[in-house]
Every structure is written in structure tokens, then in C-alpha cells.
């Protein structure tokens, strides 16, 4: 029996027979094994009329517990209110959506809806649901659950982070049940790639959640403290236990609606255990030590460290190429109230000058950022779209090389000048000094800020790096606006441009450099608004791509923030795990957890992708 620091993998043989016969010992042993005496939940046999989805993966074998290390504890298991990554990672295994984006192909595929059709004007979507499915508590699933789910997501009082996406053209999507297994969605205007909206919108069990919703405490439902009997979902797993500060264990959902081509109901794994390990270093250490089976979002340094031991320790690592996220230097161009405005006004006058922003962009050593921050495993960025976003990146966007001379020229043309000491002064004779705030827990962004500090020092700017706690950074950027510049990161959710709307629309909630604009502050922002709105309602890909290319060009030319770089997605898994197909889109390793299985001991790796 293998003992682990925090968590013991349950074995099929409970082993109570080996205990000494002495009664006291027997009691102790039995108590110690109690959690593991229960056999794993067996998958239910297929029922007549049950419309299972058949997957085309390699046929696996049942059994085993997958152990995953999480950096922090989930905040909630409520899919409608969850906003943090660890919560969503767990919830994604417990629930299912109507139409799903396949993480490997980045295309949509049927999920709980077996088929759908769109009206000719692209406004009405009719979804056919699978029949005979059951939630993880055995209760049937039908159109009522779908209608209820959307009612909750769209409820203003619930404040779901996904609600914004379901408001198309200023009006919420209308949902109507045609019959028990047909649901119609009506949009107020055509919306490009509307079927992608359904991805990751968890379908809720009406029979369990209608009461809390009617009583007005839906947001408190499905907290971490709720007992497993209060939960039910359509995901491959269901909640088994939660130990605060230590772990969440999920067990097989015996009613899951997918089967492999040999008619075995998925998932293969008996259980998944999420251990809360604290931070990225601990995540890497636990993986290296064999405590966890899968690791995702590894930093490049830890990746290098892990790869040294990979052959001897029986795991494999994968570099999937640049992520979809973008990291950037953000300038504070918000409208400020006293007393802040007096303090930040001179700085804002520099930041508002395009030549100043371009000078900074020209002075930034992006190659060094990729080399020193990402240890070569990343890509420099000049725009908001990552090079791995093949469908949408504007290939013609220029990638100007670093040039301090050009930067100085731009500053000179904007009226800046240098004194003997090399210090830069603005046209009014004030020294150019500002600070960069960044999250202290994110060493990569702190390093970027340190490189920026040195680069801008070469232009005579006196820059200070101020690492703050992540919440303090968010508070300053979103609430108080009390900062000069910040190194931040965004994106990574979906490859499609639509989730980016709230960043680039001047009225958007993540329009970071100038939040709460009543109307576009500059001409180019007005033009950007127009382009983003147009691409949103354009149904044809080629036209949409052209519009989004134009938007990227405007963003690149005007540099509302200076784009820096994006890290590669680095993941790892034990060699014994089969069907492992990591993808760039989140969740990069667990997206096909229903198909993962453990190879029998001694079997060799049978063609792991990439």
C-alpha cells in the first residue's frame, strides 16, 4: 500500500485481512479503512431509449483515481456564480453544456443537444435534446431543466459572470420550450458563432435548485459546505467529499451520457481527487514526487526542472505552443476624480500621447521577455491575438524590431527632452517618473516589469516596480484607478473574438485603460467599437475575419496598452494515463477527463499525441 502525504489512493483490495487479530487492532484498522471499504460506483447499464453519445476514443478500462493538484481551493461549486479558475476546473467535471467546444479541434460539437438548426436570418436556434438522460442523482433531464437554467443565468439579481455573454444587441436571449426535448432560443439580432455561447453553460437540475431560487437564496446554494446529496449534474463525475483546506474528491457519475464505441459507459476513472497544494512550485513538486498524476499551467522554469527527471520518474511533459492569453503594460487613462486627478494628471498627459506609448513599445525588448521570463517557451506579442489562434490572428500585423533610437526620436517629436544626467523631462519640464504595479504572486509578470524598468531606464524614464497582492492590483485597476501603469494579462478563454468584446468596446466592463466611458473618448476607439459590433453580427467567417483584422490593426497602431508576450501552455501527465490529449484552450488537460484511463501496469505508452 502506497502512502501519500495528504491523500491515499484507494486500492481495490481494502487489506483488512492483514491486520493483527487482536480485537483492539482490528477496530483501529477497520476505522482506518472505512472510507475505502465502499466499492467504486459501477456505471449503470444502458437503458432502452437512452440516447447516449458515442465517442471515438481508444477503448479503455475501468478503475483508478486521478489525482490533480490545484493551486488554491475552489470558492464555490455553484456554476452560475463561480468566477475563479479552481472552482471552474472542478465544476466543469460535475456539469455539462448543451453545445460544446471541442478543445482539440476548437470547433463546436453536440453535447446535451444532439442537433441544432439556425433560422435563415441567424436569429432563431432550435436545439434537439438527447432523450432518456438522467442527472447524477438518477432524476430525468428534459427541456424544463434547460429553460430553468437560462432563467437563472439571465437573472439580474444572481449577477452571473456569464450573463453579459447572453445579452445580444442589448436584449437577453429568449428561451422557450417547444416540447419536452426541443428548446428554441431567440436572439434580438444575428450573432456570429452563436452556438459557441452554449459552451460551459452548465445545465442545472430544476428539481434540486428551483426551491432555493424561488426562495431567493440561489447564490448560497451549492456552496462548498453543502452535502453531496444536495448536488446533481450531468458531468462525468459527481461530488463525493470535500475536506476544507485539503481536497475535493469526485466519483463516477453512473448515469453519464457518453459511451465508447464498445458501448462502455464513460468515464473510465472511478474517482478524481483535487488536492489543494498552495502554489505553482508546490504543484510542480507534488507532480515530481508522484503525488499527482496531471499538471497543467506549469511555468517554464519548473517545466525545465521537471523535464530533467521525466525519464526516470515515469511522466511526460508537453509544450503545446503559445497560449491565447496576452500580457501587456496598461496605462491608466481613466477619468479621475479629485484628489487623484491632480496627482495623476501630468502622467496621464504623457500616457494619452500616442507617440509616448509608441516610444515605450519600441523600447521594450520582447525577445528578452520571452527568453528570460518564459525561458524561451513563449511568444512575443505586438497585438492582442496570440499566434496560435490560427483562425483569427492578423498575419499582416507588423512586428517592428526593438529600437531605442526610434523610441528617442518619437519622444523628441512629442516635445520631451533629456538633461545632462540622462533623465527624461516632459515638455513642461517635469521629470518622467512613474510606477508599474503588478501582482506579487505572479513572478512572470514581476519579471516583465523589471525588464521594462530597465528598458525604460535607457530612455531616461525613472520607473519603479511595485509588486502588490493580486486583489490590491485588481482593486486599483477596476475600482479606485489609483495607479500609473500596470502589467496585466487577459484572455485565454476561447479562440473566438466575441468574448473579447468587453475588452475592446469602449463601454465594456474590461475596457481596462479607460473604464466606464460614456462614449468613445477617441476617434479610433469609436471606429473600434463599430468594427467589433459589426463582426459580432456578421455570420460569414471570411467577412468577420476581415473586420477583426481591421480591429487588430487599429489596436496595434494605437497601443492603448503595450503588448508584451504570451507563455506556452506547458502540461504533463504520468505515462500510465491513456487518451491524454492536452489542448491550448482551457481546461487544457482535463477537458476529456471522461475518456482518460490508467493503462495496466507494465503496458507501454501507445502513441501519445504530439
Amino acid at each position: 500500500m502506497q502512502f501519500r502525504n495528504n491523500y491515499r489512493r484507494p486500492q481495490s483490495d481494502p487489506g483488512s485481512a492483514v491486520c493483527p487479530i487482536r480485537a483492539a487492532w482490528l477496530v483501529v484498522c477497520l476505522l482506518a479503512w472505512t472510507p475505502y471499504l465502499q466499492a467504486a460506483i459501477a456505471p449503470q447499464p444502458r437503458q432502452a431509449g437512452e440516447e447516449l453519445q458515442v465517442t471515438d476514443n481508444e477503448v479503455g478500462r475501468y478503475g483508478g483515481t486521478l489525482v490533480v493538484g490545484q493551486r488554491s481551493e475552489p470558492k464555490t461549486l455553484n456554476p452560475v456564480t463561480a468566477a475563479d479558475v479552481p472552482s471552474r476546473e472542478v465544476i466543469g467535471r460535475l456539469t455539462a453544456d448543451l453545445i460544446h467546444i471541442n478543445r482539440a479541434t476548437q470547433q463546436t460539437e453536440p453535447a446535451l443537444a444532439k442537433a441544432w438548426s439556425a433560422s435563415r436570418d441567424g436569429r432563431i436556434f432550435t436545439l434537439k435534446l438527447r432523450r432518456g438522460l438522467r442527472f447524477s442523482d438518477g432524476q430525468p433531464f428534459n427541456g424544463d431543466d434547460v429553460v430553468f437554467t437560462f432563467q437563472v443565468y439571465l437573472d439580474e439579481k444572481i449577477h452571473s459572470p456569464q450573463r453579459d455573454l447572453l445579452i445580444v444587441g442589448g436584449k437577453p436571449i429568449e428561451v422557450a420550450k417547444i416540447d419536452a426535448y426541443t428548446v428554441r432560443f431567440t436572439l434580438s439580432q444575428p450573432y456570429a458563432a452563436a452556438e459557441r455561447l452554449f459552451d460551459s453553460l452548465a445545465i442545472l437540475p430544476k428539481h434540486l435548485l428551483e426551491k432555493p431560487y424561488r426562495d431567493g437564496h440561489f447564490t448560497q446554494a451549492w456552496s462548498l459546505n453543502a452535502s453531496p446529496a444536495e448536488f446533481a449534474g450531468l458531468g462525468p463525475f459527481r461530488l463525493k467529499s470535500y475536506v476544507p483546506g485539503q481536497r475535493i474528491v469526485l466519483e463516477r457519475n453512473p448515469y453519464y451520457w457518453k459511451a465508447d464505441r464498445s458501448q462502455n459507459r464513460l468515464p473510465y476513472l472511478d474517482e478524481i481527487a483535487f488536492l489543494f497544494v498552495g502554489n505553482e512550485d508546490a504543484q510542480a513538486l507534488r507532480f515530481q514526487a508522484g503525488d499527482t498524476d496531471i499538471i497543467s499551467r506549469v511555468g517554464a522554469e519548473n517545466y525545465a526542472l521537471l523535464s530533467k527527471d521525466a525519464p526516470s520518474r515515469g511522466y511526460e511533459l508537453f509544450d503545446l505552443g503559445p497560449a491565447l492569453e496576452y500580457n501587456f503594460l496598461l496605462f491608466n487613462l481613466n477619468d479621475l476624480k479629485p484628489p487623484l486627478d491632480a496627482k495623476l494628471k501630468p502622467k496621464q498627459s504623457w500616457f494619452a500621447d500616442l507617440r509616448f506609448r509608441r516610444a515605450i513599445s519600441a523600447a521594450v525588448d520582447r525577445e528578452a521577455i520571452v527568453r528570460l521570463v518564459y525561458a524561451g517557451r513563449g511568444a512575443p506579442l505586438w497585438g492582442n491575438v496570440s499566434p496560435s489562434n490560427k483562425f483569427w490572428v492578423d498575419q499582416s500585423l507588423p512586428h517592428p524590431a526593438r529600437s531605442l533610437d526610434q523610441a528617442r526620436e518619437l519622444l523628441r517629436s512629442a516635445g520631451f527632452s533629456w538633461r545632462d544626467s540622462g533623465q527624461l523631462f516632459d515638455p513642461q519640464g517635469r521629470p518622467v517618473e512613474f510606477s508599474i504595479i503588478t501582482s506579487s504572486s505572479n513572478t512572470q509578470r514581476t519579471k516583465m516589469a523589471t525588464i521594462l524598468q530597465d528598458d525604460l531606464g535607457k530612455l531616461g524614464m525613472n520607473v519603479q516596480v511595485v509588486p502588490l497582492e493580486f486583489r490590491a492590483v485588481l482593486d486599483r485597476v477596476f475600482q479606485t484607478y489609483d495607479y500609473d501603469t500596470a502589467v496585466m494579462g487577459l484572455g485565454g478563454g476561447d479562440a473566438d473574438p466575441n468574448p473579447e468584446m468587453n475588452v475592446w468596446l469602449s463601454s465594456g466592463g474590461t475596457h481596462l485603460w479607460h473604464l466606464g466611458e460614456a462614449k468613445a473618448a477617441t476617434d479610433w476607439e469609436a471606429r473600434l467599437d463599430q468594427l467589433m459590433q459589426q463582426q459580432m453580427v456578421e455570420v460569414k467567417y471570411s467577412k468577420r475575419k476581415r473586420l477583426y483584422d481591421q480591429a487588430q490593426e487599429i489596436i496595434g497602431q494605437n497601443q492603448p496598452c503595450v503588448f508584451l508576450g504570451t507563455p506556452d501552455i506547458l502540461v504533463g501527465a504520468r505515462k500510465t494515463i491513456a487518451n491524454f490529449k492536452p489542448a491550448i484552450l482551457e481546461p487544457s488537460t482535463l477537458w476529456n477527463v471522461d475518456q482518460l484511463y490508467f493503462r495496466p501496469q507494465g503496458a507501454t505508452s501507445a502513441g501519445v499525441p504530439r
Partner: protein, 343 residues
């Protein structure tokens, strides 16, 4: 006398360390903030006297580091390119002891080659230069904080010991309060109240004031004890009988008794306060990048991969150990002297 030799050796060691730190600009080959982004995490270079052909060189040389292709910051020496070490080479501008501006460094190699006797950090900055410059801030903080706490301690201790009564009671209860404070948490709490964005000089003085302002309790109690015993000596009583003023008695008869204790306390407190500064900066509450202090140099070790892969990043810790050892030896020797002289 072994005691004499011990104190001499310790003082010599301390003298060298402090001289090197005060003249860090001259003694270090590079500016502590100057980056070389092509050479991150270069291990300490070996100084060669004999080349590949077996020829002996009187002028030692180092070999240029070469990144091994496809590896993660692993270097090989390429001795095809030998960089001879030279004395008094021109380099980056610095201020000598804050007075003289100069460009001459004690030793180095000709640019564009770089010399990393103690390796380089994540940005290709010279660790040796950073340790020397960092020592400047850490040691200065230790010395200043010690001065503050000894001054406070002497004043409080003298007043309570000499005047006694409720003044004594009040001060000593306060001292007890400070003595039982978990100082690290207290420092963290105090630092948390202060604004985060402050300029480096102010950050430095804040750190010094916070450390010095907490550490006065022990010297105060020691001084009070000595003053209490000294003021009852017969010559003090006689002096008072002749009508001497309080100030005269204090400065002429009482305080000289405290000098030995104060000296020992200083030797004990300096390393302790250097460590306090290192601790604060380690947690990111002291001085910020790119200004080096031993604490923020060691902060790089908070990253697991640095901790296990780049042993030379521990250099500031070694410097701290040597410095503390020097001061403790001195404190020990003074203590011995005091005991032999009073017996």
C-alpha cells in the same frame, strides 16, 4: 593572550568586510543594476592559471560562458576565448563612498566580455557586485538601527535607573511590552500601515526607524541595572554630598560604567538588525528592485527552481553569516575583557 588575538582577528575581518562594502563601487566589477540579457544564471566562473595547452599564465584568465544549445541556462566554458583578469579597469561610473565620482574598478575583464566571479542572476546581473552593493544597504541599516536603539535604550535606561519611582515603573513596563513583541510580525504590521509606493531613500529610513524603534528594550534594561548599582557606590554618594548636580554625577560617575555593556550590545545588535533588514526585504517590505539589498537578493530563492538549480544565489546568505560571525566574535572578546577587568 589568546583573547587579544581573537579580538584582533575579528576586528580585521570586520574591517575588511566594511571597507569592501563602503567602497563597493570600486571593489565590484559592475553596476549592480546593469543587465546582460544574453547571460542569465551563469555559474561562477573559474579562474584559470593554466590553459588547455598546459602553459602557465601569470595573469589569470576566465573563459567565456557559452549557452549549451537546447538547454535551459546550462553553460559550457569556451576557452577559445580567454579573458585575462586585469587590475584597475575602466567601467561603469560610480560614486566612491558617496564623494568622488570614478570609473575605475579594482579588477575586471575588458568589455564586451563579462566577468562573473559569483555567477549571474536571472537578468544577467553580476551577483558579486550585487552582494557588495547590497551589503551597503543591509549593513548601513544595521548600524543606523543599532545607533537608534542604543541611544533610546541609554536614555530610557539612565532616566529610569537614576530617578526610579513611577518613571522607572512606567518605562520598564513599556520595555517589557516591547521585549515580548513578536518583532517580525510587528515589523510586518508596521510596514503594512505605510504607503507601498515610496522612494527608495524614504523606504530605507523607514525600515531603519522601525527596526531601531523596536530594539531598545534590552539595552534599556541593561543600562538601568548598571545605573542602579552605580548610583549607590560610595564615591557617587560622596559626590552628591559635596553638592554635585545630577548631570555631573551621571556623566562623570555613572555612565562610564555602561560603556562596556553598550559596546557588547552593539556588537550583538548589529548582526541582529542586519538580519531584520534582510528579513523585511526578503518579504518584499524593504527596498525594491533594482536596488540590491541582501534581503531582496535572497528573495529570488523563494522560487523553487532557483532554490534547487542555482546554488550561487545563496551568496548573500554566506556574506551575512561571515558578517554575523565577525561581530559575535568581537562581542565575545569584549565580554571576556570586561570580566577579566572587573575581577
Amino acid at each position: 593572550m589568546p583573547g587579544k588575538w581573537k579580538i584582533r582577528a575579528a576586528l580585521l575581518l570586520l574591517g575588511i568586510i566594511h571597507a569592501v562594502i563602503v567602497f563597493a563601487g570600486f571593489a565590484s566589477p559592475y553596476d549592480p543594476a546593469s543587465q546582460n540579457r544574453d547571460l542569465p544564471f551563469v555559474p561562477p566562473m573559474r579562474v584559470h592559471f593554466v590553459d588547455a595547452q598546459g602553459h602557465l599564465h601569470l595573469r589569470p584568465f576566465v573563459c567565456a560562458p557559452e549557452l549549451r544549445a537546447g538547454t535551459f541556462y546550462e553553460y559550457t566554458e569556451s576557452c577559445a576565448q580567454q579573458c585575462p583578469l586585469k587590475w584597475l579597469v575602466p567601467g561603469g561610473k560610480y560614486q566612491l563612498a558617496g564623494l568622488l565620482s570614478s570609473q575605475v574598478h579594482l579588477f575586471g575583464v575588458d568589455a564586451p566580455a563579462r566577468l562573473y566571479l559569483l555567477g549571474s542572476d536571472n537578468y544577467g546581473r553580476d551577483v558579486l557586485s550585487r552582494v557588495l552593493y547590497g551589503g551597503r544597504i543591509s549593513v548601513a541599516a544595521g548600524l543606523l538601527a543599532t545607533a537608534i536603539s542604543l541611544l533610546l535604550g541609554t536614555i530610557v535606561g539612565t532616566i529610569s535607573g537614576f530617578y526610579g519611582g513611577w518613571i522607572d515603573e512606567g518605562f520598564m513596563r513599556l520595555a517589557e511590552l516591547f521585549a515580548v513583541l513578536p518583532w517580525l510580525y510587528f515589523l510586518l504590521a508596521v510596514r503594512a500601515f505605510l504607503p507601498l509606493q515610496i522612494n527608495p531613500l524614504r523606504a530605507f529610513f523607514l525600515v531603519v526607524a522601525v527596526i531601531g524603534g523596536i530594539g531598545w528594550a534590552r539595552p534599556a534594561r541593561l543600562v538601568r541595572g548598571i545605573v542602579l548599582s552605580a548610583k549607590t557606590r560610595e564615591y557617587v554618594v560622596a559626590s552628591r554630598g559635596f553638592g554635585a548636580s545630577d548631570a555631573h554625577i551621571l556623566f562623570r560617575h555613572v555612565l562610564p560604567h555602561t560603556y562596556g555593556v553598550l559596546l557588547t550590545q552593539a556588537a550583538l545588535l548589529i548582526p541582529q538588525f542586519v538580519l531584520a533588514e534582510v528579513t523585511l526585504s526578503f518579504f518584499g517590505l524593504g527596498l525594491n528592485e533594482p536596488l540590491p539589498s541582501w534581503g531582496n537578493l535572497l528573495a529570488a530563492l523563494q522560487q523553487y527552481n532557483v532554490l534547487v538549480s542555482y546554488w550561487w544565489m545563496f551568496a548573500p546568505a554566506l556574506a551575512l553569516v561571515i558578517l554575523s560571525l565577525g561581530y559575535l566574535l568581537v562581542a565575545d572578546a569584549i565580554q571576556e575583557q570586561l570580566q577579566t577587568s572587573t575581577v
